[in-house]
C-alpha cells in the first residue's frame, strides 16, 4: 500500500474574488484556475448547477453572469469578480416558481432533470431580452443545450408557453 503522511494542501497562490450570487455578495479566495462551476458547487454548495461535457458543448452548466449566459464549466471564477451571477437556485423567490419552472413542470419538459438548470438559465436569458421569441427563435437559442431524455419538443413547448405568459404580463 502506498500512503503518504497527510500534509496540508499547499496549492498555488489564491486570488480574492467578490461575486454577487443570486443577490448575495460573497467574498472568497480562490485558486487562479478555479472554474465558476466548481466555485458555485463546491465552495458555495449551490449544487443546482450541473456539469457534464466540461467542453462548452452541452449547456448543462449554464449560469448568467451579469445577465449573459455562460458555460460555468470553462469560465474562470476570477473573471466573475465584481459581477452578478444567477443560478437555477436564484430563479424562484422561494415562494412561487418562476414561470419557466412552472411551465417546464407542466409540459413534462424534463425527465432526469440533469440538463434542466442549463435549459432554464439559457431560456431566462432569452425571455429577459426585448423581443418575445417565436418558436424558431427559441430553437435557435437553445441549440447549444443537450437533453438526452425528452426529445426536446416538450422543452420548446414549455418555453413558448412561458414566453406567452410573460407577454401577457403575468410575471415580471
Amino acid at each position: 500500500m502506498s500512503e503518504s503522511a497527510s500534509e496540508p494542501v499547499q496549492g498555488p497562490p489564491r486570488v480574492p474574488v467578490t461575486v454577487e450570487v443570486n443577490g448575495v455578495s460573497v467574498d472568497r479566495q480562490v485558486e487562479p484556475r478555479s472554474l465558476l462551476a466548481d466555485f458555485l458547487r463546491e465552495d458555495l454548495g449551490l449544487t443546482g448547477t450541473k456539469v457534464s461535457c466540461e467542453l462548452q458543448v452541452c449547456g448543462v452548466c449554464t449560469v448568467l453572469v451579469d445577465g449573459r449566459p455562460v458555460s460555468s464549466c470553462t469560465f474562470l471564477t476570477a473573471d466573475a469578480d465584481g459581477a452578478a451571477v444567477t443560478t437555477v437556485e436564484g430563479l424562484s423567490d422561494g415562494q412561487t416558481l418562476h414561470p419557466l419552472q412552472e411551465s417546464f413542470v407542466d409540459h413534462f419538459a424534463l425527465q432526469c432533470g440533469f440538463c434542466t438548470p442549463g435549459f432554464l438559465m439559457m431560456s431566462k436569458a432569452l425571455l429577459d431580452g426585448d423581443d418575445v421569441p417565436d418558436r424558431a427563435a427559441i430553437v435557435e437559442h437553445l441549440e447549444g443545450n443537450i437533453c438526452r431524455c425528452t426529445g426536446y419538443q416538450p422543452i420548446v413547448e414549455a418555453v413558448e408557453h412561458a414566453a406567452e405568459r410573460l407577454r401577457g404580463g403575468a410575471h415580471g
Partner: protein, 758 residues
C-alpha cells in the same frame, strides 16, 4: 373502469424538485472527511504491466494514497454478475485503452488530477485485437488467458438459452455464444420463391447519460456504505459484498436521482474503485468520472449481422437465419445477456416456421460494452427489418403488406413455451401506416419507413414493495426501484393513491436504498410499472387487510364485517374510521404506523416468461438533400402499446425520448476507434441529437387495450420506440435514394456516397 388517480397526466412532484435545483443527484453528495479520487488509466490497448512507480505521485501536495492492484490482492478483486472477469484495477496486464490501472486519492480533485500525471506505469506491449475479425482469427492473441467461473445468476439462465457447457473448450476470444432455432431452415430455403440475404452493421454507441458515473464510498468497521449512480443498487450491493467478503446486510448502496441511465447505469461501474480506495485509506472517497472516462467505462455493443430469409411468392416468411457477432470489448459485463436478447429479438414479431440464430459475443481490446436501452433489440431488429423491407421490394409488395402477412396475432407465441404475444400488433401497425401516409409529401428524395419489434421484457419477476400508513393518514411507499428520469417516483405514488383511495398529495415515495427500501432486482427492461406496480398493489392490499383487522378489534366485530372505503374503513354499524384514526386508536396514542408488504415472484400471472412483451412500433419519413446527403426527418410516428397508460404524458415523454435516442444512432452517433483509442471520446465529436434535429411532425400515439399483466392492464414502456428506429430510417433512406444502406449511422457523407455510388 372507474379509476380516479391512475390514467391521468398528473404533475410529477419530482419535477418540481428538479426545476428548483434542490433535487439531489449522486454527484451532489458528499460525506464528512471525504477525500477525492482520480483514476490512472492505461494509454495502450493491450500490454503487460512491468512496473508502477507511485513515489513521485505520493509526494505530491495533498496526496493521500495511490492504490494499485497489489494493494487489493487480498480481496476478490473482480466483479461481473454473469462472468466475474472484470478486474477492479488492471492486474498483470491492461486489456484496453482507458482501463483503470491505479487510483490516486487526494484532499482535492485538483490535487488528485495533478498526481495522476505523476504515476509512472511501465508496459511491455502485447499484440492487440481491435475488432471482431482480428479477435476471432486463428491464433489471435487472447484478451483473457483464463476462463472465469460463472456467477450462476439465476435470471440469466432463465432469460437466455445457454446450454450448460460440460467440457472446457480451448480458450478463445469468444466471451459467450447463444443459439436458438427450430424447424428445418435449409429445406425451407430450398422451397422458397425468394431468398433474400444481407448484412448490416450496427454502430458502436454511447448512451451519454448526462450525469457521468460517480460514487462516494465509505468503508468503516467492516461495513461499506456507497452512494452511486447505479440503476440496480441491489445488484451492485451483491458485487461489493463479494469483493470484500461482507454479509449483504453490511453493505449499503443508495441511488439518489440519476442524471439519466438508459440502461448504461445497469450493474456495477465505479463503485468498486471508490470502495477499495476507501478501504485502503480509511476515508470516505468520492470518484466522479469525466464524460471521456465514462465512454471508456461502458459503451454499447456494436454488431455485424448477416441475415437470410426465405419467402413464399406472397411474402409469407418460410425461414430465417441470423448470424450475429457483437464486439463486446475487454470485459463481458452484461454483454452475454445483451447477446441473448439480440438472439430473441432479431427475427421480429412474425410467424417464423423455421429459424436458426447464432449469436457470438466477442472479447476485443476495446472499451467494455454492456446494457443499453433496448438491450440487443436495436442491433437485431435492424437486420431483421431491413431484410424484410428488401424482400418486399424484391417481391413487389409493400412494406406494410409483407408485415400484415406475417405479424403474429394476440396470444400467438413467437418463442415456443414463452408467454404469447399480449398485444394487437397488426392494429398498431395500421395506426403508424395511416399517420405516415396521411402526411406523406410528394417531393423528390422523400421516403417513408417503419418497423416493428417485440421484446421479451420485464426481466426476472422478483419485486417487493412496502407501504407505511402514518397516523395522519399520509403514506410512505418504499421501493428499491431507481428514479432515473422515467417517472417511477410519481407513477408509484399514483398507484398507491389509487389503491388506498387517498389523495395523491399525501403519498411520498422513497426509493433505492438497500438498507431501507425493500428488495428490487433491477431497474431495467421496462419493468417497474408492471412488476413493482403489482408488488405495490399487493402491499396496499396487505396494509388494508391489517387495517381491517385492527378496526375489527376497535369495532369489536369480525374482520370480515369491516368494509374498505377510500382512505378509511367502515364497521357493520356504519361507523367509519380513517386510516390514521385506526392506527392511532389501535396503538392507543398519537403514535404508531402500519406497514403493508407486497411480494412478487414467478407465480400466478407472472409465472410465464416474459412478464410482458414490449412492442416497438415506429414510422419515419425522411427528406434528403441530394447536394449534401443531409437527412431531415419529416415525420416521426410512434405507438406506445402499453395496455393502460398510468400517466399518459409520461408515456409520451418516454416514447419521444427513446425514439430521439434511436434517431441519434440511426443518423449521427458512432464511436470510432483509430488505433488503440477512440477518435471521438467526447460530446463534441460524438454528436447526439440537438434541438434543430427535431422532426417536423411528431405523432405520439398510445394504444390502450388493457392487455398487460400489470396494474389496470398496464405494460412497460421506455425502450419500445428505440428498437425499430434504425431499420425504419434505413428503409426510408433506401426508398428516398433508391439504394440500400448496410450500416448506420446514415451521416451526410455516407448518404451522399450511397447516392453517388454505382
Amino acid at each position: 373502469m372507474g379509476e380516479n388517480v391512475v390514467g391521468r397526466s398528473v404533475r410529477r412532484p419530482d419535477l418540481v424538485e428538479k426545476v428548483t435545483g434542490a433535487a439531489q443527484y449522486c454527484v451532489d453528495v458528499t460525506m464528512p472527511g471525504m477525500a477525492h479520487a482520480k483514476v490512472v488509466r492505461s494509454d495502450r490497448a493491450h500490454a503487460r504491466i512491468t512496473g508502477i512507480d507511485v513515489a513521485e505521485a505520493l509526494a505530491g501536495p495533498g496526496v493521500v494514497a495511490v492504490v494499485t492492484a497489489d494493494d487489493i490482492a487480498s480481496l476478490h478483486a473482480r466483479f461481473g454478475h454473469i462472468i466475474a472477469d472484470h478486474w477492479i484495477l488492471a492486474t498483470g496486464k491492461v486489456r484496453y485503452y482507458g482501463e483503470p490501472v491505479a487510483v490516486v486519492v487526494a484532499e482535492t480533485v485538483a490535487a488528485a488530477a495533478d498526481a495522476v500525471e505523476l504515476v509512472r506505469v511501465s508496459y511491455e506491449d502485447l499484440p492487440a485485437v481491435m475488432d471482431v475479425d482480428a479477435a476471432l482469427a486463428d491464433g489471435a492473441p487472447l484478451v483473457h488467458e483464463q476462463s472465469y467461473e460463472a456467477t450462476g445468476d439465476e435470471s440469466f439462465k432463465n432469460l437466455s438459452h445457454v446450454d450448460e457447457e460440460t467440457a472446457e473448450p480451448a480458450l478463445t476470444n469468444l466471451a459467450h455464444e447463444v443459439t436458438l432455432g427450430w424447424g428445418d431452415v435449409d429445406a425451407a430455403f430450398a422451397e422458397s420463391a425468394a431468398v433474400v440475404e444481407n448484412t448490416v452493421h450496427f454502430p458502436m454507441l454511447y448512451a451519454y447519460a448526462m450525469e457521468p458515473y460517480n460514487a462516494v464510498a465509505s468503508y468503516h468497521e467492516g461495513a461499506l456504505s456507497v452512494v452511486s449512480t447505479a440503476q440496480h443498487p441491489y445488484m451492485v450491493r451483491d458485487d461489493l459484498a463479494r469483493v470484500f467478503g461482507l454479509p449483504l446486510a453490511r453493505v449499503r448502496v443508495t441511488s439518489p436521482y440519476l442524471g439519466g441511465g438508459y440502461g448504461s447505469k445497469s450493474y456495477t461501474k465505479v463503485e468498486p474503485l471508490a470502495s477499495v480506495a476507501s478501504w485502503v485509506t480509511g476515508r470516505p472517497v468520492k470518484l466522479t468520472l469525466s464524460v471521456e472516462e465514462a465512454i471508456y467505462t461502458t459503451r454499447v455493443d456494436s454488431a455485424r449481422i448477416h441475415v437470410k430469409s426465405g419467402f413464399a411468392a406472397d411474402g409469407t416468411i418460410l425461414a430465417r437465419d441470423f448470424d450475429i457477432v457483437m464486439d463486446s470489448g475487454a470485459y463481458a459485463d452484461n454483454s452475454p445477456l445483451v447477446m441473448a436478447k439480440a438472439v430473441n429479438r432479431c427475427f421480429g414479431p412474425y410467424r417464423v416456421p423455421n429459424l436458426r440464430v447464432r449469436g457470438r459475443s466477442v472479447y476485443t481490446n476495446t472499451a467494455p460494452a454492456s446494457s443499453y436501452r433496448g438491450f440487443g433489440a436495436p442491433q437485431g431488429n435492424l437486420a431483421g427489418e431491413t431484410n424484410l423491407d428488401r424482400a418486399a421490394e424484391r417481391l413487389g409488395i409493400s412494406g406494410a403488406d409483407i408485415r400484415r402477412r406475417n405479424l403474429v396475432r394476440k396470444g400467438e407465441e413467437i418463442l415456443p413455451g414463452k408467454r404469447g404475444i399480449d398485444a394487437d400488433i397488426p392494429a398498431d401497425l395500421e395506426m403508424v401506416v395511416e399517420s405516415l401516409e396521411r402526411d406523406r409529401k410528394d417531393v423528390p428524395y422523400y421516403g417513408i419507413g417503419f418497423g416493428c419489434s417485440a421484446s421479451d421484457a420485464g426481466a426476472y419477476p422478483i419485486s417487493t414493495a412496502q407501504v407505511r400508513i402514518q397516523i395522519d393518514g399520509s403514506v410512505l411507499v418504499l421501493s428499491g426501484s431507481t428514479e432515473m428520469g422515467q417517472g417511477s417516483r410519481s407513477l408509484l405514488a399514483q398507484v398507491a393513491a389509487e389503491e388506498l383511495g387517498v389523495d395523491l398529495s399525501v403519498v411520498t415515495v422513497v426509493q433505492s436504498d438497500t438498507s431501507v427500501t425493500p428488495y428490487e432486482r433491477t431497474t431495467g427492461a421496462s419493468r417497474t410499472t408492471t412488476l413493482v406496480g403489482l408488488a405495490l398493489q399487493r402491499a396496499c392490499a396487505d396494509a388494508r387487510a391489517r387495517l381491517r383487522d385492527m378496526a375489527a378489534e376497535l369495532f369489536e366485530c369480525a374482520p370480515g364485517e369491516v368494509r374498505d372505503l377510500p382512505g378509511a374503513v367502515a364497521g357493520p354499524d356504519g361507523r367509519e374510521l380513517s386510516f390514521g384514526a385506526v392506527v392511532r386508536q389501535w396503538f392507543g396514542g398519537s403514535a404508531g404506523e402500519v406497514t403493508g408488504v407486497g411480494l412478487l415472484r414467478r407465480d400466478g400471472a407472472t409465472q410465464k416468461m416474459p412478464p410482458f412483451w414490449e412492442v416497438g412500433m415506429v414510422g419515419v419519413a425522411v427528406e434528403i438533400d441530394p447536394e449534401t446527403g443531409v437527412v431531415a426527418v419529416d415525420q416521426l410516428v410512434t405507438v406506445a402499446d402499453v395496455g393502460f397508460a398510468i400517466n399518459p404524458r409520461a408515456v409520451e415523454g418516454q416514447d419521444l425520448g427513446a425514439a430521439t435516442q434511436g434517431l441519434g444512432g440511426a443518423l449521427y452517433e458512432e464511436l470510432v476507434y483509430d488505433g488503440a483509442q477512440l477518435a471521438n471520446a467526447n460530446v463534441v465529436d460524438y454528436r447526439v441529437p440537438r434541438m434543430k434535429d427535431l422532426p417536423r411532425k411528431i405523432d405520439l400515439m398510445i394504444a390502450e387495450r388493457r392487455d398487460g399483466v400489470g396494474p389496470y392492464g398496464a405494460k412497460g414502456a421506455g425502450e419500445g420506440t428505440l428498437n425499430p428506429i434504425g431499420g425504419a430510417v434505413a428503409a426510408a433512406v433506401a426508398r428516398a435514394v433508391g439504394r440500400w444502406p448496410d450500416r448506420l449511422p446514415l451521416t451526410p457523407e455516407r448518404v451522399w456516397r450511397l447516392m453517388s455510388s454505382d
